[in-house]
Subunit: 331 residues, 2 copies
């Protein structure tokens, strides 16, 4: 039988209130040192564990944080989950993972998130357009922070500057002498209004080159790999490829291997996000590295502030990403 505050109280001839106050270390309450020690000892000896449900019921807080992830299975998320979980835990929070259904709907069910009322939400999604979500009731009621993407302007976030990153990457390809630079991305993000798309198009046109969009759906690795093969067989191959994210870049790398095309001699390859995997290829990928660890730390800091004060001033950070040039685009 689980032991409760009541049990400790009767055992020590105290009231549950006193025990609770001791256990919660409320310094606004006056508790004598002796009883404090007695309670602490008894709790330890009897192996007391608080009933979180009961506490949540009365306080309204659950000490749970939702990690809202995109459905895409990229090792980007492994890193993020690891980083955030460590930090949340250190501050006494538990991590609930949820995967968002997509961009269509704004309800909680469509969000695919927790029915448990969590104290905060960390949205991690470098891919989708989250603006519709932000209008949903969930995000109106629960404090949240975004990593990697911005749902609405009036929200807390930590992002990298997609525009300047993409621009730098494309300029890098141009400086390499590439004349036919393709943009390899999921269909959902190939439209004016998307930061990377815009940056790519503008930079290409400013250089007097022709944009060339290679859009795949679904943007999974295996499909992207096959799709790029088909594309190249039909229309020939660009001499430079800028990929929306590293998963696509890796799929592209593999597809180019399949086709017998040499990287970087025949095709220079650049990805985005800087997932670990890009370093373990024979030709490590050039990629726009996101400083995930500090991004996660900062985001959590922002969320905590927001939770304790919903009216706190907006907290927004735009980091300038770092284009790390590696052999896949070194000539």
């Amino acid at each position: 039988m689980r032991i409760t505050i009541q049990a400790i109280a009767t055992h020590l001839q105290l009231s549950p209130a006193t025990v609770s106050r001791v256990l919660n270390r409320r310094e606004d309450a006056f508790i004598s040192q002796t009883t404090r020690q007695r309670v602490l000892r008894a709790a330890a000896e009897m192996g007391y564990r608080p009933n979180r449900a009961a506490r949540a019921l009365v306080t309204g807080r659950t000490d749970l944080i939702t990690l809202a992830l995109n459905r895409v299975r990229s090792s980007y998320y492994t890193e993020v989950i690891y980083q955030l979980q460590e930090q949340l835990r250190r501050d006494g929070y538990e991590t609930l993972v949820g995967q968002m259904a997509g961009e269509r709907d704004t309800g909680l069910d469509a969000l695919g998130l927790s029915e448990w009322p969590t104290d905060g939400i960390i949205i991690v999604d470098p891919l989708s357009d989250l603006r519709p979500l932000a209008r949903g009731s969930l995000l109106q009621q629960t404090p949240f922070v975004c990593i990697g993407t911005v749902p609405i302007e009036v929200a807390d976030y930590v992002v990298v500057d997609l525009d300047s990153g993409a621009r730098e990457a494309v300029e890098h390809l141009i400086s390499l002498g590439c004349r036919r630079i393709g943009y390899f991305a999921g269909k959902g993000v190939c439209h004016p209004g998307d930061a990377r798309y815009d940056a790519y198009s503008r930079t290409i046109q400013e250089a007097g080159l022709q944009p060339e969009i290679i859009a795949v759906a679904p943007a999974t690795r295996s499909h992207a790999r096959a799709a790029l093969c088909d594309y190249v067989r039909d229309r020939g191959c660009p001499d430079g490829l800028f990929c929306f994210h590293d998963d696509l870049a890796l799929a592209a790398y593999r597809a180019l291997c399949d086709l017998g095309l040499r990287v970087p001699e025949e095709v220079a390859l650049v990805g985005c996000d800087g997932i670990q995997e890009t370093q373990y290829l024979e030709k490590p990928l050039t990629t726009i590295v996101q400083p995930l660890e500090s991004m996660c730390a900062l985001a959590w800091q922002y969320l905590q502030r927001r939770m304790q004060d919903p009216a706190a001033p907006l907290q927004q950070t735009i980091l300038t990403p770092c284009l790390e040039i590696r052999p896949s685009s070194r000539r």
Copy 2:
């Protein structure tokens, strides 16, 4: 203000009990069709969401499942989290992630797991020796199931046959003509008693070859990469390398590239677990593929059974893994 069962009840001139019964679809209770419909409509219109904490308090169930992961950041876990979260959600459960601290201790804190009392635990850890953990109080109280490793004999699990997998892999290297086959692994698992270690040693010796252990700690990618480089420079290079898991194999691949050694001509490389990443190299890695999707499905099935009947007979499945021979060991 959140709306409660009470609110619905007074609004419809019913008792909370009736509303609750309707909302929980209890078929052992007799509710007229008309009131049922009225309650359902009102709940929908008023936007009722159950208070999970209150429910948990009285039922003792939280509809939460802990996913206990190893601290190692492998994309193995990305896949597992994705698979399990999808399935749990479909059955009305939420996913709490926890990272286990290690093998040393057996307490809940050392486990690094949730303070929230979850209904079940899924332990995913292809690396550690979990036997000490199983003696801890947490696993005595909460139903659990293991994927990829076995904490104790009297537990539910879904694993692959490490022994036969490793044996097959090593035999494959031998049949390739390798005479100096190294075993590349983390220090913690390089000892008699570990299934893969034993299988490796036995197979090597049966073939009249000399075992050669290359143990690294910590077994992170970046460290493993550097460690293998050092090792090879000091003592020369084996002509075959069997790696404890794919992360190490990828690190090895990278290290061999650094050293200018050709895979598979000079060194044949074999990994374990079959993470997605192994397919996206220039020379895809030979690896022992684990059927993760079906493993997750089966494990969840086992756990559900165990949750509803703690005395159910043991559920144990040992899958024979599949050595998928790819270019990294094709001569």
